[in-house]
C-alpha cells in the first residue's frame, strides 16, 4: 500500500491530535486568564494546566511520522 491512504492517515492522526489540543488549551487558557487576573501568584499552576494537553498534539505527530515511515 503506497497511495494516498498513507498521507491521509498521517494527516488525520496529527490533525485530530492538534485539534483536540487546541480545543482543550482554549478552554484552559480562558479559565487560566481569568484566574490570573485575580490571583497572579497562580501563574505556575496555570502554566502547567495549559501545557498538559500539548502532549496530544506531540503524540499525534509521532504517530503521523510512524505511519509515513513504517507503512510502506
Amino acid at each position: 500500500m503506497a497511495g494516498w491512504e498513507i498521507p491521509i492517515g498521517a494527516a488525520i492522526a496529527f490533525g485530530l491530535g492538534a485539534l483536540g489540543t487546541g480545543w482543550a488549551q482554549s478552554r484552559i487558557g480562558a479559565a487560566g486568564a481569568g484566574t490570573l487576573a485575580e490571583r497572579p501568584d497562580a501563574a505556575g499552576t496555570i502554566f502547567i494546566m495549559e501545557a498538559i494537553p500539548e502532549t496530544l498534539a506531540i503524540l499525534g505527530f509521532v504517530v503521523a511520522a510512524m505511519i509515513i515511515i513504517m507503512i510502506k
Binding site: 501568584d41 505556575g44 502554566f47 502547567i48 501545557a51 500539548e54 502532549t55 509521532v62 511520522a65
Partner: protein
C-alpha cells in the same frame, strides 16, 4: 541548592534593645519570626515591643504619598536627592516624623485644592466635549424645533438596540406635559441615538424624575444654555473649554513650581517614612519582658558566624545569641534561601513562576540548569542558529538593565552551547546548508547517522530514553524528599512507581523481541509486586500518578518532534533560495524564513523545555509552598 538555616534567639537587656535592632538591621542576615507566635505565655510572659512617640505613621505615610503623587516629577539638577538623603540619614525617627508633619502642614491644603480644581476643570472639559459631540450630531434638526422661550431642551442618549424605549418615553412625556412637547431623535454613532425632548420648564422636575427612574443616559445641558441656538451653544462650549484649559495650564504651572522646591525632599521623606513604617511593623515581632528583650529568627548557616561575631564585638557578653533546636514542625516554617552557583542563578527565574520549595525539599533549580540547556540543544540542534542565539543573548545580557531580562539572556546563552554541540552531531548549519557547502555532516554514533530527517526512529528512541532518565531522576529526588521527612508511604510509592515502569519496559522489550522470553516473567513479577505497593503508598492518587508517569515519558517525544519541525522549516528556507527564479529574491526569502525559524527556535523550545521540567519532572517530587528568606534589612532603594 538551598542554604542550610539556623534558628536563632537573641536575648539581652532592654536598655540595649534599639542598638541590637540597629546592629541586626545593618547586618541584614536575620529572617525574623514573630516571638509571640513562637514562645507560649506559659513559657515566658512577653509583650510585643512598640515604637513610642511616633504617632500615626501609616496616616502620615498616606498623606505624604498623596502630596507626592500630586506633584509632577522634576529633574534633580542640583543633587537635591543626595542632600536630603544625607540630612535625613543623620536624623532620628522622631525628627523625620516631625519634618513630615511640617511638610504636610505646609503643602497638604495647597496641593489638595490645586488637585481638586484641576480635576474639576478636567471633568468640565470632558462634559463640554460630550455636549459638543451630541450638539454637532443633532444640529441639523434645529430648524424643525420650535423656537420658544421658557422651554427646556432635554437630550437623552439611548443604545440603538433599546430604541423600543423611545415609544414608551414619548407616551410618558405626553402624559406628563398634557401632550405639549416636541420629541425627535437622530443617530449619534454606530451604537447610540440622541433623542431630544422640548417641553415647558414647569414640567422639568417631573420629566427629569421620570428619566432618572427609567435609567436612560441623560445629557443635561447647563441651565444657561437654554434659550440659545445650537450654534450659540457650540460657541459657548468653545469659550468655556478654552477658559478651563487656561486654568489647567495655570494650575500645572503652580504645581511645577511647588515640585521644583519639594519633589525630591518628598521623594526621600516618603522612603524614610516607609522604612519607619516597616520598622514599626517589624517591632511587633519582637518580645519584651520587664528587663529583657527577645528576638527570634532564621539565619543562613554561612552568615551565622558573622552575625554572632558582630553582636559579640558590639555588646560583649551583654547580649546572647544561641542556636535553637529545630523540630520537624519548625522546619515546615523555615524560610527558603536559594544559594546556587553563578551558572544556576538565572534558572531561579523559572522558580519564581511557582511557589518556592519548602525548606526540607530539594531545590530543583540546579537540575533545571543542567537539563534545560540540553533539552533546548536537542530541539534546536543547529550550529548556525546556536551561534546567532549565543551572539544575541550575549548582547542582551551585556546591555539589559532589568534583572529578569538578564536572567533570560543568560539562560539562552548557556543553552546555545549544547545547541552548537548537537548541531555538530546532527550535521546541521542553517538546516542542510552546511551539508550542501560540505562543511558539516551528520556524525555516526552507536551505528546511527544522526541526520534528523532520516533517523526519525533513533531520534524518537533517544528522546524517550532521555525522558525515562529524567522521570527516574524525578522519582529519585522524590524518594530523597520522602526520606528527609521520614515518610515511609511516599518512599514506597516512589520505589513502586519506578518498579512498574521498569516492569512495563521489560514486558514491552520481550514483546518486541528485544529481550529474551524468560525476562517476561521477571517483568510480570515486578508488575505484580509494584502495582499493589503503589496503591499502598499513594492510594488512588498514587495510581493516577503512575498512569501519568507513563504518559510523561511519552511526552519527551517532543524533543524529537519540535526539532524535526525546526529542521524541516530550515530546509524549506534553503530550498527557497534555489527555487525562486531570481537569486536575490530567493536569498531574501530564505533569510526571512531562517529569521522566522530562529525566532520560533528561541521561543518554542524554551517553552517546551520548561514544560518538561514543570509538568513531567517536578510532578515526581515537588511540593512547594515554602516562604522565601526575607532578611531584616533596608529596603532596596527606588530609582
Amino acid at each position: 541548592m538551598l542554604q542550610k538555616m539556623r534558628r536563632i534567639q537573641v536575648i539581652g537587656p532592654k536598655r540595649s534593645f534599639h542598638e541590637v535592632v540597629d546592629t541586626l538591621y545593618r547586618t541584614g542576615t536575620v529572617h525574623l519570626e514573630d516571638v509571640s507566635q513562637c514562645i507560649s505565655p506559659e513559657e515566658i510572659s512577653l509583650k510585643k515591643v512598640e515604637l513610642e512617640g511616633l504617632g500615626d505613621v501609616p496616616g502620615i505615610l498616606v498623606k505624604i504619598n498623596g502630596i507626592f503623587f500630586t506633584l509632577p516629577r522634576t529633574a534633580d539638577e542640583q543633587g537635591l536627592q543626595a542632600r536630603f538623603e544625607q540630612e535625613l540619614s543623620a536624623s532620628p525617627h522622631t525628627r523625620v516624623i516631625e519634618r513630615a508633619r511640617q511638610v504636610i502642614a505646609d503643602l497638604e491644603w495647597t496641593t489638595k485644592s490645586l488637585a481638586l480644581r484641576k480635576s474639576d476643570h478636567e471633568m468640565a472639559i470632558t462634559a463640554l466635549n460630550r455636549y459638543e459631540k451630541v450638539i454637532r450630531r443633532i444640529q441639523h434638526i434645529e430648524p424643525e424645533l420650535p423656537a420658544l422661550t421658557g422651554y427646556e431642551v432635554n437630550i437623552l442618549i439611548i443604545q440603538k438596540e433599546f430604541m423600543d424605549v423611545l415609544q414608551f418615553i414619548q407616551a410618558e412625556l405626553a402624559e406628563i406635559t398634557g401632550n405639549r412637547f416636541e420629541f425627535m431623535y437622530t443617530g449619534v454613532d454606530e451604537e447610540s441615538l440622541a433623542a431630544i425632548a422640548v417641553f415647558n420648564k414647569r414640567y422639568s422636575e417631573q420629566v427629569h424624575a421620570f428619566v432618572f427612574a427609567t435609567n436612560v443616559n441623560e445629557v443635561r445641558l447647563p441651565e444657561d444654555f437654554y434659550g440659545h441656538s445650537f450654534q450659540e451653544m457650540l460657541e459657548m462650549i468653545e469659550e468655556r473649554r478654552t477658559a478651563a484649559s487656561k486654568e489647567i495650564a495655570e494650575i500645572n504651572r503652580e504645581l511645577e513650581e511647588l515640585s521644583h522646591r519639594w519633589y525630591w525632599e518628598l521623594s526621600v521623606l516618603r522612603r524614610y517614612i516607609e522604612d519607619i513604617n516597616e520598622e514599626m511593623n517589624t517591632f511587633g515581632k519582637f518580645g519584651e519582658s520587664k528587663y529583657a528583650f527577645v528576638i527570634q529568627g532564621w539565619v543562613p548557616q554561612k552568615a551565622f558566624r558573622e552575625t554572632a561575631r558582630t553582636l559579640k564585638e558590639t555588646f560583649g557578653g551583654r547580649v546572647a545569641i544561641e542556636t535553637l533546636p529545630v523540630t520537624p514542625e519548625d522546619l515546615a516554617n523555615a524560610p527558603t534561601f536559594y544559594d546556587n552557583p553563578r551558572f544556576v542563578r538565572p534558572f531561579e527565574f523559572f522558580m519564581k513562576l511557582m511557589r518556592p520549595p519548602r525548606y526540607f525539599e530539594v531545590d530543583p533549580s540546579p537540575f533545571m540548569a543542567l537539563f534545560f540547556p540540553i533539552f533546548f540543544g536537542v530541539m534546536v540542534g543547529d550550529v548556525g542558529y546556536g551561534l546567532i542565539i549565543m551572539a544575541i543573548s550575549a548582547a542582551v545580557r551585556a546591555r539589559a538593565k532589568a534583572q529578569w531580562l538578564r536572567d533570560l539572556a543568560s539562560i539562552l546563552l548557556l543553552s546555545s552551547v549544547p545547541t552548537i554541540v548537537f548541531g555538530f552531531l546532527f550535521g546541521e548549519f542553517f538546516g542542510d546548508l552546511g551539508e550542501h557547502m560540505h562543511l558539516f555532516h551528520p556524525v555516526t554514533v552507536f551505528g546511527v547517522t544522526w541526520n534528523r530527517m532520516e533517523a526519525v526512529i533513533p531520534m524518537l528512541a533517544l528522546a524517550l530514553v532521555i525522558g525515562l532518565f529524567h522521570v527516574f531522576l524525578g522519582l529519585g529526588v522524590g524518594l530523597y524528599n520522602a526520606w528527609t521527612v521520614r515518610s515511609k508511604k511516599h518512599m514506597i510509592e516512589k520505589i513502586a512507581t519506578a518498579g512498574v515502569i521498569v516492569g512495563l519496559i521489560v514486558c514491552l522489550g520481550c514483546a518486541a523481541r528485544f529481550m529474551p522470553d524468560y525476562a517476561m516473567w521477571a517483568g510480570i513479577a515486578l508488575l505484580l509486586v509494584s502495582v499493589p505497593l503503589v496503591f499502598y503508598g499513594g492510594g488512588v492518587f498514587g495510581a493516577i500518578e503512575l498512569i501519568s508517569a507513563v504518559g510523561n515519558i511519552m511526552s519527551y517525544a517532543r524533543l524529537m518532534a519540535i526539532g524535526m519541525a525546526s529542521v524541516v522549516l530550515a530546509i524549506v528556507a534553503n530550498e527557497f533560495a534555489g527555487a525562486l527564479g531570481i537569486a536575490a529574491v530567493g536569498i531574501v526569502a530564505a533569510v526571512l524564513l531562517h529569521m522566522m525559524n530562529l525566532g520560533m527556535g528561541m521561543f518554542s523550545p524554551s517553552i517546551h523545555a520548561l514544560r518538561l521540567h514543570m509538568v513531567e519532572f517536578f510532578s515526581k517530587f515537588y511540593q512547594g509552598g515554602g516562604q522565601l528568606y526575607r532578611p531584616f534589612k533596608k529596603l532596596e532603594k527606588e530609582s
